[in-house]
């Protein structure tokens, strides 16, 4: 309408210290469709939500997820004999009206099963960091596609507390302390139908006070938006949520409801007198899903990024060099790295060439030796042969001489026999001479 839309003139600071005047509109412009435009684009792209379930084996983590999302996710119940803690993640595509959700559920497999649980939290922290790192890497790329990046960072961590009724286990405290600056933690009491109502109240108080005294920061449902401030602050007071999960339905009255049936009664999952399941679903999905995503990005991820970059040696130094310090250092580091890489490559190449040469020389040596040996042997052989031949010749000569002698001797003998006095003849001949 062309009526008057008057805003009282006041200074609005959109940026610190900068006053920007408000002006009235004299008619309908149409930019009030901005939120719709933005939302439509997000709907086209689809949403993703990643939940990490941390808790001992057998606390009903998978069942709770099935119950929350009204579907049967795959998986066999895990055994209790895992050697270490592993994280198994599965992604599902769900749709409700025009909203497409890529839901990833990560489960800690084998958590709490080992005798020595000192390092149990480590795979969890590593997992979270890995996904922060992946996002950081994408963000630092030169050619990047952030708007179509599948966000794999964990948006909510449901920490399953065993329903002992007494207090938190030290494993719980240690793990939550390690995780509270990295992820939004929502603590829940699992299988809470094992605890009576009065014990539950005491249990919740004990848990809350232990968390506070150990300085564990759990996720607070936000109270800055008036439309949700009230319900969120009420819910904050109900933490940790005591939940019961079930995908089995039991007939109560004339309805089929999700429940667990015991001989002494039926625990109805969606009955708020029986457990806090409905509260969890409200808070996690229907009221604060977007805030959980936002906090992950603006708080936990920023902290990770800052620490990582500082660790790598980047600094926001003086204002003059500020714009380029990250780029510059990054570039310098990259060049340094590339230079080192090249140097290493060169070294390796040299070493390889060297080794090849050495081997070649060795082989040549060996070859030479072999030749020499062969020559030597050949010579030896020849010498031997010659020696033998000489010997043979000598022997032959001797034989010949012997033969000659023999022949001569025989001849003489026969001559001597022919002339009895052949010898005298010979003597006479010899006298006559």
């Amino acid at each position: 309408s062309l009526g008057s839309w008057w805003l009282w003139r006041f200074l609005l600071g959109f940026e610190k210290g900068e006053g920007v005047r408000a002006v009235p509109l004299s008619g309908h412009v149409g930019f009030d469709s901005m939120p719709d435009q933005l939302v439509n684009k997000s709907v086209n792209h689809g949403f993703c939500f990643n939940i990490l379930c941390v808790g001992e084996t057998g606390l009903g983590k998978s069942t709770l997820m099935d119950t929350l999302f009204n579907t049967k996710f795959e998986g066999e119940p895990t055994q209790h004999n895992q050697p270490g803690v592993q994280l198994k993640s599965n992604t599902y595509e769900l749709q409700e009206s025009n909203v497409r959700l890529k839901l990833t559920i990560v489960n800690t497999v084998g958590f709490g099963d080992q005798i020595n649980k000192e390092d149990s939290y480590k795979p969890i922290v590593e997992f979270i960091d890995t996904h922060f790192e992946a996002y950081l890497q994408e963000e630092l790329k030169i050619k990047r596609t952030l708007h179509s990046y599948h966000d794999s960072r964990i948006h909510a961590c449901l920490y399953f507390i065993a329903p002992t009724g007494h207090s938190l286990k030290s494993l719980d405290l240690v793990t939550m302390k390690k995780l509270d600056s990295k992820v939004n933690i929502i603590p829940i009491i699992a299988k809470s139908d094992a605890i009576s109502k009065s014990e539950l109240a005491k249990f919740k108080i004990k848990i809350t006070s232990e968390l506070v005294s150990n300085g564990v920061q759990i996720y607070q449902f936000p109270t800055d938006d008036e439309t949700v401030a009230e319900i969120n602050s009420t819910m904050n007071g109900h933490l940790p949520f005591a939940v019961v999960g079930s995908t089995e339905e039991v007939k109560i009255g004339n309805k089929m409801v999700k429940a667990r049936q015991y001989p002494w009664g039926t625990v109805q999952v969606e009955n708020e007198n029986h457990c806090d399941f409905v509260k969890l679903r409200e808070m996690l999905i229907r009221v604060n899903m977007e805030d959980l995503r936002e906090q992950t990005h603006t708080r936990h991820y920023e902290l990770y990024r800052r620490c990582k970059l500082e660790e790598m040696g980047f600094k926001d130094t003086d204002p003059d060099s500020k714009p380029f310090s990250l780029q510059e250092t990054y570039e310098a580091k990259r060049n340094e790295f590339m230079g080192e890489l090249q140097k290493k490559e060169e070294e390796m190449r040299q070493m390889f060439v060297q080794r090849v040469k050495e081997k070649e020389a060795e082989l040549k040596e060996a070859e030479k030796e072999l030749h020499e040996k062969f020559d030597r042997l050949k010579k030896l052989h020849q010498d031997e042969k010659k020696k033998l031949e000489d010997k043979k010749k000598a022997l032959d000569d001797e034989q010949n001489i012997f033969k000659q002698k023999k022949t001569a001797a025989e001849l003489l003998q026969s001559q001597a026999q022919q002339a009895g006095g052949s010898t005298t003849l010979k003597r006479d001949k010899e006298r006559k001479k």
Binding site: V23, G30, E96, M289
Partner: protein
């Protein structure tokens, strides 16, 4: 690993044989306590609310958050003086948001070089707050020699990208990086009826890849409908021949639906517009118009000019997209180039002067 697991379709519960002493059951559907109400059905059909999880509430959650933070929008107007730039912007936003209205008089001398003057206001509508910054470029195309007069504009645009980049690469970053980048540049074409001027082509060629340019034919009440159609066709042809892509650029159409919507818009551009902040009585209604001896040109009458088309396109359907294309494409292009330049570590300087322009 990704599985398509649709929510279970729950079979309708069988009506039990009622025990004789129990009253007939009243069917009471189970209402979710804070659900958004209508429209939330499990995608498998079947019973309406038994399968409801509440995933679709994320739309409301997101909407609430964006309304709380408000929006920034930065629009630049480029064109020779006298083409009605300020009036058009004021008409578009139904408010005195342009430079002229913020204490500047019409007797101001045309500057000797192109100046960049920006002014910001906050406007609110339907609970949505918007900080609108209008960037004027007095002096553009007004000199005798207009060579390279787009350079100060180009420099300004790049400076805003640079500012954003600087903030983005900080170790300790602000929660919300202030966005001064130019989301949209309205380029005013003189309604000669012939063809584009050399200056128009040069400007759009140089800046078309750095910013979203929306060309408009200014003061279109000097063109008859036939002249208008012909002129538009010629302009589009010329832009195509020169390889100039104005917003919405074909290459950024996301899907078939986008493409078909945007094709219609591209066919109708450049919009021939008339601006006015004066109201007149026409047929018992008060309308924005320009009064001439031969009649009143009604600004928002689609038969008279295409102002409404421009407004609907710019503000009611593509406002967010303009910002997204600026952020996801133009800014990324700038950033990639910046990071790739080895030693591109000195402050931005234009070819003629090495001083950074101050606002």
């Amino acid at each position: 690993m990704s599985e398509i697991v649709p929510p279970e379709v729950r079979p309708k519960p069988a009506v039990p044989a009622k025990p004789s002493h129990v009253a007939p059951p009243a069917s009471v559907p189970h209402m979710p306590p804070h659900g958004p109400g209508a429209g939330s059905q499990g995608s498998g059909g079947g019973s309406t609310l038994l399968g409801y999880v509440g995933i679709d509430t994320i739309i409301e959650q997101m909407r609430k958050k964006t309304m709380k933070t408000g929006f920034d929008f930065n629009i630049m107007v480029v064109g020779q003086s006298g083409l009605g730039k300020s009036t058009l912007v004021n008409t578009l936003f139904k408010s005195q948001v342009s430079r002229r209205s913020s204490g500047w008089s019409r007797d101001d001398k045309i500057p000797k070089t192109v100046e960049i003057k920006s002014v910001s206001h906050v406007i609110e509508e339907g609970g949505v707050k918007m900080k609108l910054t209008v960037i004027d470029t007095p002096g553009f195309g007004d000199q005798i020699n207009n060579e390279n007069c787009w350079e100060p504009i180009s420099k300004y645009i790049n400076e805003q990208y640079e500012k954003f980049l600087k903030e983005e690469v900080n170790i300790a970053r602000k929660k919300r990086i202030p966005d001064t980048r130019v989301h949209c540049c309205l380029y005013f074409i003189s309604p000669t009826g012939h063809s584009l001027r050399q200056l128009d082509v040069e400007f759009m060629k140089h800046l078309g890849r750095a910013v979203n340019i929306i060309p408009v034919i200014a003061k279109a009440d000097t063109l008859t409908p036939e002249e208008k159609t012909e002129f538009k066709q010629r302009v589009r042809k010329e832009l195509e021949v020169c390889g100039i892509e104005f917003y919405p650029q074909k290459e950024f159409d996301e899907d078939m639906e986008d493409k078909s919507d945007n094709d219609k818009i591209r066919e109708a551009m450049p919009f021939a517009v008339v601006g006015s902040d004066k109201e007149y009585q026409v047929n018992g209604k008060r309308v924005l118009g320009r009064k001439t001896a031969w009649g009143i040109v009604e600004v928002e009458n689609p038969n008279h000019c295409e102002f409404s088309l421009l407004r609907d396109f710019l503000i009611r359907s593509h406002l967010q997209d303009l910002k997204e294309v600026t952020h996801n494409i133009h800014y990324e292009t700038y950033r990639a180039k910046r990071l790739n330049d080895n030693g591109g570590l000195h402050p931005i300087s234009s070819s003629s002067d090495t001083q950074e322009s101050n606002l």
